[in-house]
């Protein structure tokens, strides 16, 4: 009668790294989708296989947890950006390629985009405290700077453009498409993330940027 109970796969084994990571994963989703005030510590705990006590044990509090989430999200996306190799491409193709990488990244990491929005809603008071993020980000712009200089030397780019401005144009397009998809969809009945339109928007971004740079 009494069958042998198969040991559940999620029996609690002591594993600090795993517990920490699991809390971070769930917290990322919660903060991204509900904002800082909207996120509930109890809810985050309930969605993990651990308890609220552990959140305070590992992170100290709601605010510190939020910062850890933000730091990891930025690190991940910038690390991927640095993996781009544009040295072997002609300037025009290189810029287009960089824009496409940003495009792909934003699309693949909507939680990151949402977190950026959440952080701006709080006037970036947390980002300002994480100095290392500045280095990460500026290196991404340096890459763009290099390609622009090459293109200007070759005479195919306007000489009055600033790398940070171009970076901003690229980010604007990619950010808006992901961040405002809900209101845009509701007001104009167009799903900006519809897979069938993906290639169209990706090409459009490239045209937009290269069109601006072209002499």
């Amino acid at each position: 009668m009494a069958e042998k109970i198969v040991e559940a796969p999620d029996v609690r084994r002591r594993d600090a790294a795993r517990t920490r990571a699991e809390i971070l994963d769930v917290a990322t989703d919660e903060f991204a989708n509900r904002g800082f005030s909207g996120a509930r510590v109890d809810e985050i705990a309930a969605r993990t296989r651990t308890t609220k006590r552990m959140i305070y044990y590992y992170f100290g509090g709601k605010e510190q947890l939020y910062r850890a989430v933000l730091e990891r999200a930025y690190s991940e996306i910038r690390a991927a950006e640095r993996a781009v190799d544009v040295e072997h491409l002609d300037p025009m193709t290189g810029v287009r390629r960089l824009a496409e990488v940003t495009f792909d990244h934003h699309e693949a990491h909507p939680a990151f985009i949402q977190l950026v929005g959440v952080e701006n809603a709080q006037h970036a008071r947390h980002v300002a405290h994480v100095a290392q993020l500045v280095d990460l980000n500026s290196s991404a712009v340096d890459l763009l700077q290099g390609v622009l200089h090459r293109g200007q030397a070759d005479g195919v780019f306007r000489t009055d453009v600033d790398a940070l401005d171009v970076h901003m144009m690229i980010s604007s397009f990619c950010f808006f498409r992901v961040a405002n998809r809900h209101t845009f969809g509701a007001l104009f009945d167009r799903d900006l993330l519809d897979p069938s339109r993906r290639a169209h928007y990706r090409a459009m971004l490239g045209d937009l940027i290269t069109g601006y740079l072209r002499i």
Copy 2:
């Protein structure tokens, strides 16, 4: 000795319209700066010359107040957009002018931008319930549509562009500049809203859009 006390200008006179409007003004600022969850009903009440009781009396609750705020903010900005007269401009100048109007509007109404962000954080569940907003917004795109057609007929614009896409490009740039100014400033040490750079960004937007449309 005892001077005649000048009657304070804010003695409480019964004025429903004024009380309602004052609540809306303060609530707009609160919701824009703290988000839906972050905004406090008590705080909104404290910043008006009335009490929390009145918020419930006039609006019913926090959520309904938020919706009223959202509705008014959208109505205001769209009304101003419709005031643009591009019929008498050549297509190229017309498009640039439309972009500039959006640029100016976003800059003048940061609270609106923040509210759009807040609403997207909630997946636009409130905007979806205000059907009249759809009409308001689509009329703005119709205007753009007309200028594009004229330019295409004149042979100065590409014929494979969509009005809604162009609208999205314009909005992206203007939105990002205002919405993400805090993280951008913290990470790249550049104030996107610095008045001395305003003309530069305004011209850049025009160049960007016309560069994309040019054959």
